[in-house]
């Protein structure tokens, strides 16, 4: 009966429809994050066992290189230190950024390139509302992924003595989702201004790559240490949330970047012609 489809709860708004569109992708991203968490957890005991050798090996590195790859802390043996340098240091944010940048770019520019936007915007739903819903969907889905990662680490860590604390894991997952949201918002903004998905992905990923390197390399050169504070990655983990909890000020900076991205997206989307 088609009539039963008339009131589909997940098709009641742009927000719910956008989340619904992602449901299959979210399952796979979730599986990927759980597998990642499991892998990092499973490796932890061997890191602890070989801590001495690894530390010696690390000591042989020039200071600058050491900083660049492991941070000034260079604690990769404690549970928090290990997760900070490994999972939360690179691969976790990479995965989440790929997700949010892709989703942010698709949100408007993707619909536009597929030419579904003309009909959507011929309904009484305003451009602003479409954008607010898309931003909300992005926030909701990245939150879901962060929770999945958090639960996976909380459950899979203890068997391998990887126990930085439930609250600290939540702080790290939160910080990571805020970082990812900031870059998703940048992609959304570029897509909303230009209607070009590939450009949105490229700009957001480019900014991501450059600011990641700035965050990693700036501290190694005294003259440009200050540059680090221009990088979202600094606010993501300078405080090592997985050991020290969330630094509210840093979280606010990431939120502000996301909010600025969303605001710019609304402005850009409202003022331009849509591509036919």
């Amino acid at each position: 009966m088609a009539d039963s489809a008339i009131s589909q709860p997940m098709l009641g708004s742009v927000l719910s429809k956008t989340v619904r569109d992602q449901r299959r992708a979210l399952v796979w991203w979730g599986v990927g994050l759980v597998a990642t968490a499991a892998m990092y957890a499973a490796f932890y005991p061997s890191i602890v066992e070989n801590a001495e050798v690894l530390t010696q090996y690390l000591e042989s590195f020039p200071e600058a290189l050491k900083n660049a790859f492991f941070g000034s802390d260079a604690d990769f043996v404690s549970p928090g230190g290990y997760l900070h340098t490994e999972l939360f240091g690179f691969f976790g944010p990479l995965l989440l950024l790929i997700y949010t940048i892709g989703a942010g770019a698709r949100a408007i520019a993707g619909e536009e390139e597929r030419q579904t936007l003309d009909i959507l915007l011929s309904t009484p739903v305003s451009r602003r509302r479409v954008l607010v819903d898309k931003a909300a969907a992005l926030s909701a889905t990245v939150a879901i992924l962060a929770v999945v990662l958090w639960v996976a680490l909380v459950l899979l860590g203890p068997p391998f003595d990887l126990t930085p604390g439930v609250a600290n894991l939540a702080a790290a997952a939160t910080s990571m989702s805020l970082l990812a949201l900031a870059f998703g918002a940048i992609a959304l903004a570029v897509g909303s201004w230009t209607g070009r998905r590939a450009l949105a992905v490229g700009v957001a990923a480019g900014i991501g790559g450059v600011t990641y390197l700035i965050d990693a390399l700036a501290p190694t050169l005294d003259a440009v240490v200050w540059l680090q504070k221009l990088s979202p990655f600094y606010y993501y983990d300078a405080n090592v949330p997985v050991k020290n909890g969330l630094e509210p000020l840093h979280a606010m900076v990431l939120l502000a970047i996301a909010a600025a991205g969303f605001t710019l997206a609304v402005i850009g989307f409202q003022r331009r012609d849509l591509t036919a």
Binding site: L11, T116, S122, T123, P124
Partner: protein, 302 residues
């Protein structure tokens, strides 16, 4: 009656090429207005301006007396729109797609959706991905009607529809006209516009050529009549008939180009033995010739 659409000196420039220039016309409540022109003439540009999908470079459009720029939501609530080119959400079924749009509109009776789908014989349970081009066109057409809009803005509505469904669509249009609702539709085929519209605006290369009643237009239309005669006839008696622009006679084939009433021509023909008679539908280019002679619109000032 009130103007449902009023376009005043509307100009939309895209660099040097496409766009529309200084359009002025209006569409009255209850009429079916045809917007006729070849592809790329600026029909879609005009239409998308009415819905605030694009903004004019100069001039102004209003719909229901509302400003598309500031009051788009109200216009959108009361109008239904079929784009000339569109994408649908491939992973949804037809029913899900219409349910989504119905939810966004908020004032849709599910029975209307069912009825429209039955009418156009569209299986709503199929995934959009697996629909044929014609069925996608039907689905997009249906979504424009689900909320019983006062105004329908349809960009090339019959493209991709098979003849039977075109017929169904024409019937739907005539019902809508009977109900006093307004239709603004674009087309690049003259016979379609002649058949369903009350008035026609003709656009070419971004310029509005004319706005006329369909009847008037028909009377101005150039037709080419080819008559196969039993034996050769001279062209002289035909060449002097009113409205005849050209008459040639080669062997048994008499060819007359005529604008205006056919009656004198037919009466003259009847004096001879006619074997076969063919009248060609005028192409858009023929129609433009009626209005321009041999000059293109580029000589039309600017």
């Amino acid at each position: 009656m009130a103007d449902v659409i009023a376009v005043e000196r509307l100009t939309k420039s895209y660099g040097r090429s496409r766009g529309v220039v200084d359009l002025t016309f209006s569409v009255t409540q209850g009429e079916v207005f045809g917007y006729l022109g070849p592809n790329g003439a600026g029909k879609t540009t005009t239409i998308r301006t009415l819905l605030d999908l694009i903004r004019p470079t100069a001039g102004h459009a209003s719909v229901f007396g509302l400003d598309p720029r500031r009051e788009a939501a109200e216009i959108h609530r009361r109008a239904g729109y079929l784009p000339g080119e569109f994408g649908l959400y491939d992973t949804l079924t037809g029913a899900e797609y219409l349910a989504y749009l119905a939810a966004l509109r908020g004032d849709v009776d599910p029975r209307d959706i069912r009825e429209l789908a039955d009418r156009f014989r569209l299986d709503l349970d199929q995934r959009i991905r697996s629909l044929s081009h014609g069925n996608r066109q039907k689905l997009a057409l249906i979504q424009a009607f689900i909320h019983r809009p006062e105004l329908l803005i349809l960009d090339e509505p019959t493209q991709g529809l098979d003849p039977l469904m075109q017929q169904e669509f024409y019937e739907l249009l005539s019902e809508i006209r009977t109900e006093g609702r307004t239709v603004f539709l674009s087309s690049h085929v003259m016979p379609e516009v002649e058949r369903v519209c009350d008035r026609v605006g003709i656009i070419r290369e971004g310029h509005l050529v004319t706005v006329e009643d369909v009847g008037e237009l028909r009377s101005k239309e150039i037709r080419v009549l080819e008559a196969h005669m039993a034996k050769h006839v001279g062209v002289e008696p035909f060449a002097i008939l009113p409205g005849v622009q050209e008459a040639t006679s080669e062997g048994e084939l008499l060819r007359v180009t005529i604008a205006g009433p056919m009656d004198p021509l037919v009466k003259e023909l009847a004096r001879h033995e006619v074997v076969d008679l063919v009248s060609h539908q005028p192409t858009l280019e023929d129609i433009f010739l009626t209005f321009y002679g041999d000059e293109g619109p580029e000589h039309d000032g600017r």
